[in-house]
Amino acid sequence: MAVRLITDNCTGCKLCLRACPYGAIEIVEGKARFNEHCTQCGACASACKFDAIVLETSYTPDVDVTQYRGVWVVAEHLTGLGASGAHFRRGTLELLGEGRRLAEKLGVELSAVLLGDGVEPMARDLVAYGADKVYLAQDPVLANYRTGPYTDVLAGLINQHKPEIVLISATPQGRDLAPRVAARLSAGLTADCTGLDIDESERLLVQTRPAFGGNLMATIVSRHARPQMATVRPGVMKALEPDPSRTGEIVNVPVHLDERSMLTKIVEIVQLDTDGRVNLQDAEIIVSGGRGLGKPENFTLIRELAEALGGAVGASRAAVDAGWIPAYHQVGQTGRTVQPKLYIACGISGAVQHLAGMSSADCIIAINKDPAAPIFNIATHSVVGDLFEILPALTKKLREAL
């Protein structure tokens, strides 16, 4: 991948200069010129309005893979604190755990990449969770995620430091960023991996992922392209126990971005109307209600049990369609896919579409009065019974015990 300047078209307007995060462009005799700071990130190409900068992104399988070493994890930080008290989305911490394992197999360093503004205090967390090094790039423009600047900075860093593997958590942010960066770099990207390993004979990242809504598994490699990129499903990998005594290097990457060069403006961020404190995506325990609850008021039973357990509230499509609970809580093929350690399904029959959203939970407890409910086919513990009796009693018992 290369950034090429077509000098004839250049008007010296300096849009590219402003867009460059690395201060790599100078105007000499009215024309733009790249200096040694250029990381080929491509930010200038989007900014130029005169077709004077071309980003060559054609994929050719002729990359010298031996130049690429190291495992990277791109961190995604939260605005508040997460369930575990950390500043990062659960997937980021899990990836550091998995990245550590892969790095050890390859005999290389594990680095984290942290982009943001005023996020330096969080960088130490990444080391505690397993990173040997943290590339820290800060700028007010990076305060909130946006595709453009995050892609430019990350692409530049990757070009400079050439990691062989880049892992990103498959959150909405990750799934927005990863394909853009992969296309910028003509790298191979595998989405939503549930399994990673190293083929030591070929020094390849072997990626396993579900397709067809989980009905088919695929194993994928990127032989000739670097870095090997993967977005990884949150809730599958294991985070390490944080060790605050771990040492690592925080590398400050000087970047300078210009808000005026941004093609995208964030107009508003609105926290969702969620019925409950805990985020469904990060939750380790989810208590979920379906049509069997009978009426919206009965969701109280679900909420109370969830609260007693410190878990999140989920719902089947039937309950959401009936207007009993906001759509945010819908678990299923057309709702959210969740990966809790414990999923308690109450009054949910277990239609295929619902199962698609929760069947990768570690442990499933199903409570339903219909003995033929399909959910019992996949539940770890099945209870054929009256949820109106069981839920309040269970909530009470757990409150006493916990």
């Binding site: 296309a183 191979g188 939503d192 994928i220 490699v221 325990i285 009693a393």
Partner: protein, 262 residues
């Protein structure tokens, strides 16, 4: 507004069967449909066109039978449809696909907005939309649940894990939409008849001045080593006894997992 919508023809059901001998997917008897969320993208395009005027062109890269999927979108009310079908693009991964689609958009020319569905129910990657935006060098907005266009600027409401975001981008841009954005319209009978008679343009890689090396297996940095059906999760044990006994057992099991925090 000239809007292009990228669609994919997918099998109707994701319940796939794999031939144990060849490891290939069994395709007979499986009906093909327009990827459901792509219908939402078409509907979003039609609504914008109805509001602002212009044309909606639906494109797809696929085998010859993908023409049916395009016809369905014409029946919904799209103005034009173009099929890119070329044996050389078989085996394309998402990078190669986004390259070809970008070339198609360049050939169409003068496009204000490109809409895609968030992801296809077979591949489940969601990578083509952003890849396409990158190839075209234009902004992207993913997971859009609401769209509004005023004076060449697009405001999009995005739905993320636990918050909504409103972004504003200058057109042209690529937007991927989620199913909650709208209810796709049913084809009207007049459009059904019109779609039956419509000419669907059929392009090959040569028509796009596309580099065949950027397409198909050759143009795909990722390789699929194998596919296999996962082990089906099976049911565990049924708890017996009175409600009180069951509750006791459940409470013990949950406590034993050591993950709860009241």
């Amino acid at each position: 507004m000239n809007i292009v919508v990228c669609i994919k023809q997918v099998p109707e059901s994701t319940e796939v069967r794999v031939d144990p001998k060849t490891n290939a997917l069994i395709r007979e008897g499986v009906k093909s449909i327009v990827n459901p969320v792509d219908e939402n993208a078409v509907e979003a395009a039609l609504q914008l066109r109805d509001q602002h005027g212009g044309t909606v062109t639906v494109i797809t890269m696929g085998p010859p039978q993908a023409e049916e999927a395009l016809r369905h979108t014409l029946a919904m009310g799209a103005d034009e449809a173009i099929l890119l079908s070329d044996p050389a693009s078989r085996g394309s991964d998402t990078l190669a696909t986004s390259y070809v689609l970008a070339q198609m958009v360049r050939k169409i020319g003068d496009v204000d907005l490109i809409l895609c569905g968030k992801q296809a129910i077979d591949g489940d990657t969601g990578q083509v939309g952003p890849g396409l935006a990158e190839r075209l060098g234009i902004p992207q907005v993913t997971f859009a649940i609401g769209l509004e266009v005023t004076d060449g600027r697009l405001q999009a409401r995005r739905v993320l894990d636990d918050f909504f975001e409103v972004l504003e981008v200058k057109l042209p841009a690529v937007v991927t939409v989620v199913k909650q954005i709208n209810d796709p319209r049913h084809p009207s009978m007049k459009n059904v008849l019109k779609a039956k008679r419509a000419e669907i343009a059929k392009w090959t890689l040569a028509d796009l001045a596309a580099d065949p090396k950027q397409s198909g297996f050759e143009g795909s940095p990722t390789q699929v080593l194998k596919v296999w059906p996962p082990e089906k999760r099976s049911g565990g044990r049924r708890l017996e006894g009175s409600a009180e006994e069951v509750v006791d057992e459940l409470a013990e099991t949950i406590k034993g997992m050591k993950i709860a925090s009241g």
